[in-house]
Point group: D2
Chain length 367, copies 4
């Protein structure tokens, strides 16, 4: 039961809306035409000087009731919308986006498919490669348990410059040999673009660590490789920043990208970091890439490994990364959070045979 005065005024608004739409559409068509010429002659679509002049003309002409600020704000929206049209013409769609590829990407490592409808994979191994014996022990256990991907760091990012920072290239060789002996795929972190040749030789999956998520030089170098990549999310990175880092990889031609959520920095002191399951879900909604979760670093606590694994899988993670060490007490790094072989078997039992998790899994590798 509307006031009659309101009804009349609203009818007037309806007409004005349609008039505005007509003008906006016409304006957009002209802008598209300009965009085509610009592309042809190699000019950038964005011309801030021209934009400033248009805004000046509009505020000169403005007689209210909108303030100049509001007029400028509305027209900036209109300019931006037009420019987006021009950019779509150029097909500058983000390669990582579901808009440019709706189907899930499946990254295949050796003969192990990751992503889409495939069973979640398990990537396990020690934090750091410390010796031939240590790697052999872990690799043979993993192979026996049906795990297909071995992780182990040869170059370790360390906050303190005097901490153990890995065996370097020798570590890569040790890892490669053990993986070959046991039919495993080798995942290892690359920290330096100049090491790319060694990684190409020894490693199956290049890992980019959280601290290097916005090391754009490294991203471009890894993007030029054709090896699959695991890209960890930065400790305080937004999802958008993480996805843009993946875009760096894809922009260089590498489309074998796996995103890895590894916990974000929060105020919590009971955990080292906080697993962000929404980020797993949103990365899968916004991109077509496989997304895995590192349950060792995201909690930093052994008693959270099973619940965080279940939680990550429930939200759609395509895989889990976990640290296993023959004797965590003597590990050269991360010795509070790696688990030993007995604990690893309990972990597998708790996650593998849980009715809630096995439903969509048909093969032992993975879970």
């Amino acid at each position: 039961m509307e006031d009659a005065r309101i009804s009349d005024l609203r009818a007037r608004i309806d007409t004005l809306n349609l008039d505005l739409l007509r003008l906006l559409s016409e304006r957009a068509e002209v802008a598209e035409a300009i965009g085509r010429v610009q592309s042809e002659v190699g000019l950038s679509h964005y011309d801030p000087v021209r934009e400033q002049r248009m805004l000046d003309a509009l505020t000169d002409a403005n007689r209210g009731p909108f303030t100049d600020t509001v007029v400028k704000s509305l027209f900036k929206q209109i300019f931006q919308a037009s420019m987006q049209l021009e950019e779509q013409q150029d097909k500058v769609k983000y390669l990582t986006s579901r808009h440019s590829q709706s189907a899930d990407t499946v990254v295949t490592v050796g003969d192990v498919p990751i992503g889409s409808q495939y069973a979640p994979v398990l990537i396990a191994g020690p934090c750091a490669i410390e010796s031939r014996e240590q790697v052999e022990a872990v690799a043979s256990l993993l192979a026996e348990r049906g795990v297909r991907l071995f992780r182990g760091g040869a170059f370790k990012p360390r906050t303190d410059p005097y901490s153990f920072s890995g065996l370097g290239e020798e570590g890569l060789r040790i890892g490669r040999e053990a993986c070959d002996r046991h039919g495993l795929q080798f995942v290892s972190e690359i920290m330096d673009a100049s090491n790319i040749a060694a990684f190409e030789e020894y490693v199956d999956v290049l890992q980019v660590g959280a601290r290097n998520m916005q090391n754009f030089t490294l991203l471009r170098a890894v993007g030029r490789s054709r090896k699959p990549v695991v890209l960890k999310r930065g400790l305080s990175a937004t999802i958008e920043e993480w996805v843009m880092a993946a875009e760096y990889l894809m922009a260089e031609g590498n489309d074998q990208v796996i995103l890895c959520e590894r916990g974000i920095r929060t105020f919590e002191r009971y955990t080292r970091n906080t697993l962000d399951v929404s980020a797993v879900a949103l990365a899968k909604l916004e991109t077509h890439l496989p997304v895995i979760a590192d349950v060792t670093h995201s909690g930093g606590r052994r008693d959270l490994l099973v619940p965080l694994t279940k939680s990550a899988l429930a939200v759609g993670a395509d895989g889990i990364m976990i640290e296993v060490h023959p004797n965590p007490a003597v590990a050269l790094s991360d010795n509070k959070q790696q688990i030993d072989f007995e604990a690893f078997d309990r972990y597998l039992a708790a996650t593998l045979y849980d009715t809630k998790l096995t439903a969509k899994r048909t093969e032992l590798y993975g879970f």
Copy 2:
């Protein structure tokens, strides 16, 4: 193949270790005796002046090689360990802790048990109670779908003092009547200790909101009630602070406490808050209380409701809270995140019939 000199020195260390242990144990026994006398005569165990004097005596006597700072630090550890023994004598155990009660608490609301081995419950309803019609529509839908707990706010905490802040006591009456008509239990947020009588009359479960998690006056008042309580975690509260807030409730005698994780503030801009599943797991490890997750506020996005629900249940949540409104577009608050009836049915289908979730559920209420 150890250097002989090292072996000899290590044997000496072994003897010293045992000597130290003997002295430490003797010291602890004397400290316990002091603690008993202090308890008897009503003195506090902690006496900073005495502690300062002991430290002064030790640093006076110190001839190295430890620096005075290290000596003080080591003895402070020893003092603290002794005091913990004294405190254990006093049995000042936190009531919320697994150490004081190992078995899971089951909170029973009407005839609905929450916690332990019981099927997860669903608490659903509109953000705010707006009208008799709105509440009737939601309540009848929920009852039809087998949901047993209805939520709806009559007093709404709002950042802006001029926003709609709820119908007040009239809202409580509307909620009560609808719940009675449909056999539902009524959950509603209390913001003010002075409203406790009205809540006792109309409401089945008192909810303490995130902004009031450290409103100790309110906590004490609610703790004196015998109604079950849902205690939301503060937006930036650590798990310890959250559990201590529950301790306020239990210290006043209310042991019907349900913890509710509702997302923490992070830097993410794609979501309103970030669901912290580790907090659900840790709250269940550290306390014996039921823990539920509010999936509406923790994501603030409709497309995350299903994945966050699955994730929270996988990590062990005893229930889920979700906002449903007949027409979210015209809701007086939270209109971006409430779902309508059709979406609610899709939500139920996606969570109820998922093989991963139904395993331990036998009744329709809940999932």
Copy 3:
């Protein structure tokens, strides 16, 4: 040297821009007219159902090149801009805002003016009121040093329910008597609306603590008092939330509001909290209220008291709050961060006689 085709198209755009501006202005005028009728008949300006219908009509009419999503987005901006105009008509200006009062508010406590061009004040005293002797010692020292405002808590918010939580009303009496003896103004934290009568009797300035910044019941009660208020910023509150909390106070009629920045929660482990000097600057830019900084809680370290004081004053703080205790080692709370009398004198010397700070100060109270 622009392509001629571009010049022609740009001329066309210029005309369209002006046509759009004309229509937008006309639409805004009609919307204002609707707003006036709505205000007259008591209707809310925001009508989401009407908005939805307009958007439906527009997307029905849309023939490109904009997608429906872009059309909806642009028109939502237009609707919003119009609604802002309507709201301005209603003069719903926030009372805290510089837009409703451009001149600085000066809050006068006893005969001590705070804010605007007045010298920064110092508010000092112990964390908690523990005994008559303790308060007397501090109050006489402060009076001797020319400090005019005494702070001391009688009701202490404590995370742990079993910690010392203050002497209550007896503490208020002790504080009042000491302040009367020494001509000091008494600042103390109120945690419960039901204590307002006692605070009205004994206290000169009501303090609302960080944990209660969004305790809206308490804010409304304190807002109905005519005593000056110190409103602390919540540990993770945005500046907007903080200012809105002050708006609660002013909306109830209390315009004697002092904002107090006390450090925000960050990831830093060297400090307890992190002083946010931008918040001091922005609070002074956005509101007309005095803003002070609590240098004890924002750093939680004695060695930061002087630098944080200098920093806060440089950014424009109208006062400083600091904790002083006769013997911090035996204090019942906060014993790591309170300073003793000797340190307080060093603090005064370092801040008072520093040439950078004394420039605009003419009286001893303050600095």
Copy 4:
């Protein structure tokens, strides 16, 4: 007036304390002797297997009243204290620490000294080097105003791979020429270790950006250069992590390190980042290095440039970095926060002639 029983027991405690001290000191001496042998034969001091065995022996021998957990915890403290002694023998002191160098480091760029008692310096210039004309305009203005250090990015870290990422080496050449013409020192960000030769040729101060603060490869490369370095703090880095990044530079031999606070990520939406003045103070307390503040990025708002500058200088900053652009509206990056020439003059006037700031400044360069 102590209970006599307590007095007696306390006397017993006093004796035990001294016995414990004697044993602890003896144990430390033996541990030092072991450490010397280990250093001699090249063994690591830390031997987790040995430590485990000692703990096992102790818990085997433990008869209470301490639990095994407490015994282990106390002895771990003792082990750690002993190991620290051994490490001190090795003189592994952090080079950045005040403990290894108590006097302030002065970094000299050209003839401009930075740090210690010298007047704060101003480092100004555009976000990105865009053209010869732009750089010439800024450089000539700066030189006229007495500024001595010019900043300008030739390699720009960008979240989005398709954004303008700088002119590269051509940009370095443009910057060098302009600086030579106007007697300015050139500061520019290096993102890639492989560009080090070009930076050595063209640039006076290497800047390591916030995103690269833990790019350890880059840090080591820059550490091997002898050019002064500005090391920005990471967006969510703790102070300890920031200082450890500086330690990487010094460990490689570069002692010309300037720390730069540039704002941390917080929940605040009014600002881009939040200037952390405590970090400036703490970095100066903990290290001997000069510390500057980037007031452009830490606020992201022009209206905060003056207050943040005053605040940073008051807390002891040795310099300020600020972005200036001939026409910010058309800048290719950061166009919301750079200031134009007129605003820069207002900025200089507001900071230079402020009595609070000029006290310790004697020359025009700087302030």
